[in-house]
């Protein structure tokens, strides 16, 4: 009896709590309405369309709003809460600056989340999401990423710090037990740009989460496969280019040798002997001593050799 009562109480209590609510302060430039959008993949975080908006809630005079979470999926998903300026359409996305108008959070159909802010001047930058632990981790990741963007250091230090921050995010991705938080950390670590550097890490990471079938993981896997495929294509193209170059070079050498052989056959026996000594690096004097002939005869033979082989110097004769 006691157990049944406790179960009924727990169910009533959890359904009463299951909502996204909050109290936000806005100045007069904003419409007093908040919109909730479902973000199906991390690549859609900066996509805005009316079809992404799944609910809206007006703000009461004190800035309170609430959404029921009962219609949300059972599993955790990423959502965006945004506001729009007066005169602007509901589907407005402002990225950066003090008028940034959106924040992201994780929720499911049992989530009880409270969102609040502390400033009307920069309403979204001061948003705080409470009530569901994964959102604290999401905030930590955002703070790490923001620290990379706001660096007033020389470019060299920025590069170094950016690498350090990406490394830190990869560690967070590796150690987080929450799939969306983990993947969010990886996504923020600029992993696509540094894919080749961290290929082994990413492959092991995806293997670790191979049972995760959410659209977040599916989209990353697809992108990763595309990246892998495009790299494979690059390697294949490079391989084919080198193969073709090899054939062309081989053909060139073969034709040159054939041409050289033909030209060599035009030389007399004596000229061929002298040519061999020229190729061995002997001087005219050494050749005349070797074959016991006059220096002027050697010069005459050399001149004939040059003409027949269409060369102009001893160096060309050696390279022939």
């Amino acid at each position: 009896m006691l157990l049944v009562s406790a179960s009924v109480w727990a169910q009533t209590n959890s359904s009463a709590k299951a909502e996204i609510r909050g109290k936000i302060l806005l100045d007069s430039i904003w419409n007093p309405v908040v919109y909730l959008s479902h973000i199906p993949t991390f690549y859609d975080m900066f996509t805005m369309s009316n079809s992404m908006i799944i609910a809206e809630s007006p703000l009461d005079e004190e800035g309170n709003f609430h959404f029921s979470t009962s219609f949300l999926p059972e599993k955790d998903n990423l959502y965006r809460l945004h506001i729009s300026k007066k005169g602007a359409p509901a589907a407005s996305l402002i990225i950066g600056g003090k008028d940034e108008n959106h924040l992201y959070f994780i929720a499911n159909n049992r989530s009880d989340i409270f969102i609040s802010n502390t400033s009307t001047a920069i309403p979204v930058s001061t948003f705080k999401v409470e009530g569901y632990r994964p959102n604290d981790d999401l905030r930590s990741i955002n703070e790490i990423v923001a620290s990379a963007d706001n660096l007033d250091n020389p470019p060299v230090s920025k590069e170094f710090l950016s690498r350090t921050i990406n490394e830190k995010l990869r560690v967070m991705a590796d150690t987080s037990s929450h799939p969306i938080v983990s993947l969010y950390a990886l996504h923020q670590s600029n992993f696509e740009a540094t894919y080749l550097e961290n290929q082994v890490f990413i492959e092991n990471y995806l293997k670790k989460w191979e049972d995760e079938e959410s659209t977040y993981f599916q989209s990353i896997r697809t992108r990763f496969m595309q990246e892998k495929r495009s790299n494979l294509y690059i390697y294949i193209i490079i391989g084919v280019v080198f193969f073709v170059m090899g054939i062309v070079i081989q053909q060139y050498i073969f034709r040159r040798r054939k041409r050289n052989r033909t030209q060599l056959q035009t030389l007399s026996i004596q000229e061929r002997k002298i040519f061999q000594l020229i190729q061995a690096g002997r001087s005219n004097k050494e050749i005349s001593e070797e074959y016991n002939i006059g220096l002027s005869t050697v010069k005459s033979h050399v001149s004939n050799i040059y003409t027949k082989l269409n060369i102009k110097s001893r160096k060309e004769a050696i390279d022939f």
Binding site: M48, P89, A91, I95, K158
Partner: protein, 141 residues
Amino acid sequence: MKKSIQLLVFICAIVLYGQQSFAQDCTSVNTSRNIELDGSSEREEIKLNVAEDVKHLHLFINSTISTGFLTVEIYDPKGKKRGYYTVESQMNSNTKKKETVCGQMQKQISDPIKGDWVVRLIPKNVKGKVSVHSGQTQEKS
């Protein structure tokens, strides 16, 4: 005599202050481009040349579309993507009306890499307007 010294000190202070404020003065170069898209699906690139002595690069991109699908991307001279967003306007299935969608991005980059920064517009059957404003601040030495 005392008054003359005070006057001299005052003049010196003004001259020094003037020199100092001149030394810290900044110059800025602003550009602005408005693009109207009338069902366009052609990619467009806006190049912003950043010189070596530029301390800050400000970018402000605003787009309002009533039809189609538009992606705006920002690339630094090394080809690294530094920001993006997508806006998509579809016909409302209930009202059968096209709905306007807005996207806006504001970016301030300190010590930007020298070279051509690119704002790339990738539209798909887009009807709407895009404006790209940029400002470069150089510090006078």
